[in-house]
């Protein structure tokens, strides 16, 4: 089997066969921008989802988890609004999320339990159900195989650019597509308390395989990014598979076809994860941190995320200052085994710490490199074991503070 996975130009959630979408302005966002997305599959889908681990779960998360729970759950639509999160809204919020499903069911002639519902935005405010109803009616009319990018716009909040993409690959002679849209920006941290991401595929695949592929792919992508360590009450990744590609069913997690599917899914989700880190609120720099030589992958990841979440590291990189001490201090407080006298660190191609000691390096050259480039690569070698992990984040800037001190949708 040739392992060729390719990105589809301008691909999105409507690239896989049989998926339609739309994004409309229903009136939640005061600036007139799109704020309601609808995704529809002509065929019933099996679904897998990962959800926020936050214990203050928003109403749409609770309702979607209910709809996905039955073993035979068959999903046909996703509805998502931006601007209001429908979180911390009590029983009324649950009723509003359920009513949103009812409205979609009515508009598309499906069952309410076939709907995935999601919200993002301001917490503690009720959804304006009249506007939601109107938006759903309008979106249902506008559904098209070209609507994926509109849908990507409609789930944005503080994102500065829409996030969409698709990949394709061949299983024997059959082309399989996986497409998606995502939103992020702030309150991004791992444990699937990250953001919204809706993924579609025309692959014919069993639920067991779909779930495992999603969970593995999320671990190395969305669970490896952080903007501020904060996690949201609302976030979910949902993956729908409608089987429209009519491939030989992927039904064995040890098979080559499964592995190819998981690899393609991971490629797509990594694309979204990196786009989200790159678009972190107020950020000016994309930061990739690779930790190697750890005893376990989990410990490599713990160190990577601790460095990525360090305000001091993030501020110094914003200022273009190679402040190795702060990186060292963050490494040292992570929950992971290390020997201080074995740790080496590189920033871009410059070794700045060898065997636990900060060494002489061309500080002015590195500083000017940091000031001029939007990308920073940090490599940490613990020289203890063989495990490694890569995480992504962004810098901490005046604009992050401004955006979050003055946040009003």
């Amino acid at each position: 089997m040739k392992k060729e996975i390719a990105f589809v130009s301008d691909g999105s959630v409507t690239t896989p066969i049989g998926f339609l979408a739309a994004g409309v302005h229903c009136g939640i966002k005061a600036n007139g921008k799109k704020d309601l997305a609808l995704i529809y599959s002509e065929r019933p889908c099996i679904a897998a989802g990962t959800f926020t681990t936050n214990k203050m779960k928003a109403a749409p998360v609770i309702v979607t988890q209910e709809n996905l729970r039955p073993a035979q759950a068959s999903i046909k639509a996703i509805v998502a609004n931006s601007g209001i999160a429908n979180s911390c809204t009590g029983k009324q919020g649950i009723m509003d999320a359920r009513e949103t499903c009812d409205l979609v069911a009515k508009a598309l002639n499906i069952l309410p339990e076939q709907v995935v519902v999601a919200s993002t935005g301001r917490i503690g405010i009720r959804l304006p159900m009249d506007k939601i109803a109107q938006g759903i009616t309008e979106a249902a009319k506008k559904l098209s195989s070209a609507g994926g990018i509109d849908a990507a716009h409609a789930i944005m909040t503080t994102d500065t650019f829409p996030k969409y993409g698709a990949v394709k690959f061949k299983l024997n002679q059959t082309t399989i597509h996986i497409g998606g849209i995502a939103k992020g920006a702030g309150m991004i941290a791992p444990k699937m308390a990250t953001m919204l991401c809706f993924v579609t595929t025309d692959a014919d695949i069993t639920k067991t395989c779909l779930k495992k592929a999603l969970s593995n792919a999320v671990e190395v992508t969305f669970n490896s990014i952080t903007v501020d360590g904060d996690t949201s009450t609302n976030d979910m990744v949902v993956l729908l598979a409608n089987g429209a590609a009519k491939n030989e069913r992927i039904n064995n997690v040890s098979s080559d076809s499964y592995r190819l599917f998981e690899e393609a899914l991971t490629m797509l989700l990594r694309h979204f994860a990196q786009a989200i880190a790159r678009d972190g609120e107020g950020s000016t720099k994309f930061i990739e941190i690779t930790v190697k030589g750890a005893v376990t992958e989990q410990e490599a990841k713990a160190i990577g995320l601790t460095v990525a979440n360090s305000n001091l590291v993030k501020c110094s990189l914003f200022g273009g200052d190679p402040n190795i001490g702060r990186i060292a201090a963050a490494i040292g407080r992570a929950p992971a085994r290390l020997s201080a006298e074995k740790v080496s660190v590189w920033i871009n191609d410059t070794c700045v710490m060898r065997d636990g000691t900060i060494i002489e390096f061309d500080r002015e050259r590195l500083r000017s490199q940091l000031k001029s480039s939007p990308n920073v690569f940090i490599q940490i070698d613990l020289a203890l074991g063989k495990a490694s992990w890569t995480v992504w984040t962004c810098d901490l800037t005046y604009d992050y503070v401004r955006l979050n001190a003055e946040y009003e949708i």
Copy 2:
């Protein structure tokens, strides 16, 4: 026994009988400010210390831990410099820290192992030993019972004000003093990876009692503050007791006299902890967060610290925005048991969330209160159990980013 503990006006590390101190400029800080502190006890002291849990320990931490380790350790001096941390400096750093002890021993005619050594400042740079030597000589000459406040100045880095204080209380007819100096500002987070604090007492107390009192007091004070979640490679709290008050020895952790000592020590350390949170880098607001109704104190503390470390919460309070959603989201991601539908939250005297639902409140009144006052009180009631905890932090501001993007001593 009357439990009267009083703060001593302008008290410091030299308030207890028999302690002298000095703070001088030895030439590390380019701005000419004091950068070397020396504390001396005329009588040998028993000592207790808590140290950074960061695995990238600075040389002075390693050397001080060596000097405090022997059961019969008898300490007579503390030397601390600001400006350079002597961290990530390898074997040379250890040699420099030991040489610093040697220099103090020589100047004061004591043994090198009777010296506690500490450093704070820029990481990865060697100490200028000639300047340190000169500073020690000068400080030794200037030692006086009025020198505690100079010493407090000499350990400052980005602190905007010096931190010193003392308390006194009577054990039977004998007056006991406890005094100290501290520094903080950034890289403040619990687990005794916090800052420098040197405490002196003239109490006659056993080492067992001294250690337990310090460890208990640190847990509810320094381990309950956070500025940015970052922890340092250098930090320590060291408590010296010289017995000069000649009280009946405190030798039983169940005794009233021990309890009074611990209470007085806790009062003093709380004073420092709050001053450090109040002086968080770039901060404009002091934030006190009390969590009650938790199942365990540890879980109450975990929630308090998660809210305190949330960049989103800290930015919104900087902006005077009562963004309850972010507080709720931080509560929900803390490692603690809770029932979302039982959580209630107050900001100052305003209830903003009841039983998991954000309620109507006078948003404009609260907003103007937040904008005009330098103090914010958040109370969270989980309504699950009986445990509570209080933590302190500050807001996240443009100046935090500026200070840490442009940090140069």
